[in-house]
């Protein structure tokens, strides 16, 4: 690690959550400042130079895999793309595991429930074509495709899930990521499970729980708008309900 330009800058005081939910505490570290330093760089420095037992999760380091999200000074962020100098307050940083998810250890959360809800919301593509059929031709400019595209760039970082107050109040709520994914598939003209998916979306853990607080849209690192996707699902559910589609055998 280069130290030439960091010599003058004061070290950062970093408070890091150590332990598990019920038995843990903040531990303070002094971390040297570096140019273009990210929060993930800070955490990595601590593990390599101060305490090798620090647990955290990362993979790609370039904002594609969605595995390094943490709470930084109380806000959920992708740590590999968050520069220290943009978020540091009085030379101090507080780094905690993501909110609303069970903790494994230190900064590593258990993401199981997040992905379970993704599956519960029928978040996988279900098509009718086989490998013997020709590739579907989709116009990228059709209104429906534009809506689907606007919601597709999710990297499953769970930042929206951590920022959602409704998730914290109602742990059964499917959450912004799963519903955003459902909305994307509802607008995929090749998908054949739209009615089945809509039933899940309209369930008591579904889109009607959302209060449109927009924490998800505020903090999504890819600037997606799950609140808008959920509003779209609410419109779709209302429309299906009016047509009598969701009322039969589903009470």
């Amino acid at each position: 690690m280069s130290t030439s330009s960091s010599a003058a800058a004061a070290p950062i005081t970093v408070r890091v959550w150590r332990g598990v939910t019920d038995a843990g505490e903040f531990q303070e570290f002094q971390v040297p400042q570096q140019p273009s330093q990210t929060i993930l760089d800070v955490v990595t420095w601590i593990q390599r130079h101060a305490d090798a037992s620090l647990s955290y999760r990362f993979a790609c380091r370039v904002g594609m895999c969605g595995s390094c999200a943490m709470m930084v000074n109380g806000i959920p962020r992708w740590t590999c793309r968050t520069h220290v100098n943009k978020v540091m307050q009085d030379n101090r940083l507080t780094i905690e595991p993501l909110r609303n998810l069970p903790l494994i250890k230190d900064l590593a959360c258990d993401m199981t429930i997040f992905f379970e809800k993704w599956k519960q919301a029928e978040g996988h593509f279900q098509g009718a074509a086989t490998r013997n059929d020709s590739v579907s031709r989709l116009s990228p400019n059709s209104p429906q495709r534009r809506v689907a595209n606007a919601a597709t760039e999710c990297i499953n970082c769970a930042i929206c899930y951590a920022s959602c107050d409704v998730v914290s109040w109602n742990p059964e709520y499917l959450g912004p990521a799963a519903l955003n994914r459902a909305w994307s598939l509802q607008n995929d003209e090749r998908d054949t499970a739209t009615e089945k998916r809509l039933r899940v979306v309209a369930s008591d853990a579904g889109c009607h729980q959302c209060h449109s607080q927009q924490g998800c849209a505020t903090y999504c690192p890819n600037e997606l708008n799950p609140t808008a996707s959920i509003a779209g699902l609410k419109r779709q559910v209302t429309s299906a309900w009016m047509r009598g589609q969701l009322r039969k055998d589903n009470d």
Partner: protein, 111 residues
């Protein structure tokens, strides 16, 4: 599907309330031009089917809308669930409805 039903009921109530609130505000601004006088208001409302229906409908819509909203608050902030939640919300609905209709009757029904 309970949430879907309640969501639709609450939006429907909001749609009913919106024009009624505008009528209420409009008449209120008009009515106080000559000073706020209970006797003048009662002259207009007593025996009026229009004002009785207007405020009667408003009270029903408010009672449904507020009870559904309160249900969400109680569930999320006070972790109330199941029968207790349903009971509290029905009681709140009934209380609002009774108080509101009593007030409507007081200004509409001739004494």
């Amino acid at each position: 599907m309970t949430e879907t039903r309640l969501y639709l009921a609450q939006r429907l109530c909001a749609a009913v309330m919106a024009p009624l609130v505008l009528i209420h505000l409009g008449v209120m601004i008009y009515a106080i031009q000559g000073g706020l006088d209970a006797a003048e208001i009662l002259t207009r409302t007593r025996g009026s089917l229009f004002w009785g229906a207007n405020y009667g409908l408003f009270v029903i819509a408010v009672s449904v809308h507020a009870a559904i909203g309160l249900r969400t608050v109680l569930r999320e902030w006070m972790s109330l669930r199941g029968t207790a939640l349903t009971l509290v919300c029905w009681l709140f609905f009934a209380g609002l409805l009774a108080a509101g209709l009593r007030a409507v009757a007081a200004v509409v029904v001739m004494s």
